[in-house]
Amino acid sequence: MKDLILRYAARQYYWKNLNNNIDKISSFMNSKAFALYLKDFRSELRTRYAVNSLAMFIVVAISVILFSIGNEKIPESLTGGLFWVVIFFSAMSGLARAFVAEEERGTSLTLQLIASPSTVFTGKLLFNLILVFLMNIVIALLYSALFEEFVIRSFALFLLTFVLSNIGLAVSSTIIAAIISKAGSKGTLYPVLSFPILLPLILTSVELTSNCMLGTTFEESQVLLAVILCYDVIMLTASYMLFDFIWKD
């Protein structure tokens, strides 16, 4: 009897939480930041500026590496590093657009008039987050297909690394994109400013990727994962606090 009551209570709790979460998700989807993301998404669908050039860039970057290696065999550890090289440069090619396009067309002023700074940052971050995930999934698939040495032995660890690193990449790239959108020579400055900020993330991710390829256990990589998580949290906090100063004149 007690058993039945417990099971009933557990089921009620489960359904109530599910409804709460669905409410949270739907209220987020109706929110202003999501509206901004949707606008960018629809604009992308219509004009396809970012996606086309980004897709071509990924193909070109991987091709350049393939051709420079030629028929040589590269050591396994090197493939892990090169993977993040391609990711870094693809990010530099595609993620600045979120802010630079608005600034170049003059619609930054429009955004300032209709949304608070944190809404703008959240919306742009959401766009870049989705772009980073899509871009990196394509890179990961292409890369593992074309480089036979790139074999992931601890898949769960790789998945976790992938998710955490992508978040960090998106956050840092977005705040730096906001900075350079207000400066001159935007294109060349973007990798110059982003690299030092992304360096801790890249170093840790490369280390974790080689762990994944060696098949290291989860426990042994815990510290590295914690580092990336800290990086994500710290960069996210700093970005929100500083965005106001960049955005307003």
């Binding site: 350079i180 400066a183 001159g184 030092p196 900020i197 580092v227 990086y231 710290i234 970005s239 100063f245």
Partner: protein, 245 residues
């Protein structure tokens, strides 16, 4: 005031002169007997003296970065362009000391470990700091408007500062390194290095010269920084006078 200036500047000159002479000229012997002799460390011998110059430059470049960031924060709160000038003067000195630290570090690295550069975590950190300084100056030179230049470089400075703890504390713990105090592989196991860091087996005299050098360079830095930001502020004011006619 003026007399006091002369007094401390002379004192600084004497201190630096003493430190330079002591640092370079005092001999290193097996068993120090006289007060001007330094103890020997296996494998380093004469080259140990570089510690008097390498560590202060590394120390100062971090102090300069910290000060640049502090004045950046002050600027963001009060929007006073004088704070921006102070931040800039600190960064100018910072990049100079960073280059010196990297160069003295790689010289020492050649003698101690055999190669000029080996991507040890501390070496990577000083290189990252050099990149941060370079990026900061590049950002500044790409913005025309004074206000925008000051606020954007202030924001970048703070963001870069936030990543620095990762280099200083986290990396050396998790990655293998050559610097004294980092992890290394001994007998196939990873453990804390037994190499001395600042417990460098320096005897009393050596420690004294070391700390004197640190103090002397720090005072020199603050003096140069004051000169730097004052001249920037005056130059700005004069230019405004001229353009106003």
């Amino acid at each position: 005031m003026k007399n006091f200036d002369i007094i401390w500047k002379t004192f600084l000159f004497l201190l630096l002169a003493f430190v330079s002479v002591a640092g370079i000229a005092f001999p290193i012997v097996e068993n120090p007997v006289h007060w001007y002799q330094f103890p020997m460390i296996r494998g380093l011998e004469e080259n140990a003296k570089i510690i008097f110059f390498h560590v202060p430059t590394a120390w100062l470049t971090v102090i300069a970065f910290l000060m640049s960031t502090i004045y950046s924060i002050k600027y963001l709160r009060k929007k006073n362009l004088d704070d921006d000038a102070k931040s800039y003067a600190a960064a100018q000195l910072g990049i100079i000391f960073c280059i010196l630290a990297t160069v003295t570090g790689s010289i020492w690295s050649k003698f101690a470990w055999g190669a000029y550069w080996s991507w040890d975590p501390r070496q990577t950190s000083i290189f990252a700091l050099l990149l941060i300084y370079g990026a900061w100056f590049a950002l500044r030179s790409s913005i025309e408007s004074e206000d925008k230049r000051a606020s954007l470089s202030a924001v970048y400075s703070i963001i870069a500062f936030v990543t620095v703890p990762f280099f200083i504390f986290v990396m050396p713990r998790i990655m293998l390194g050559l610097h004294p105090g980092s992890e290394e592989i001994v007998d196939g196991k990873v453990m804390q290095s037994a190499s001395p860091v600042i417990d460098f087996k320096m005897n009393g005299n050596m420690l004294l010269i070391f700390f004197l050098s640190l103090a002397a360079f720090t005072i020199l830095y603050f003096w140069m920084w004051k000169l730097g930001y004052k001249s920037l502020i005056y130059k700005d004011k004069i230019q405004k006078q001229i353009s106003r006619g």
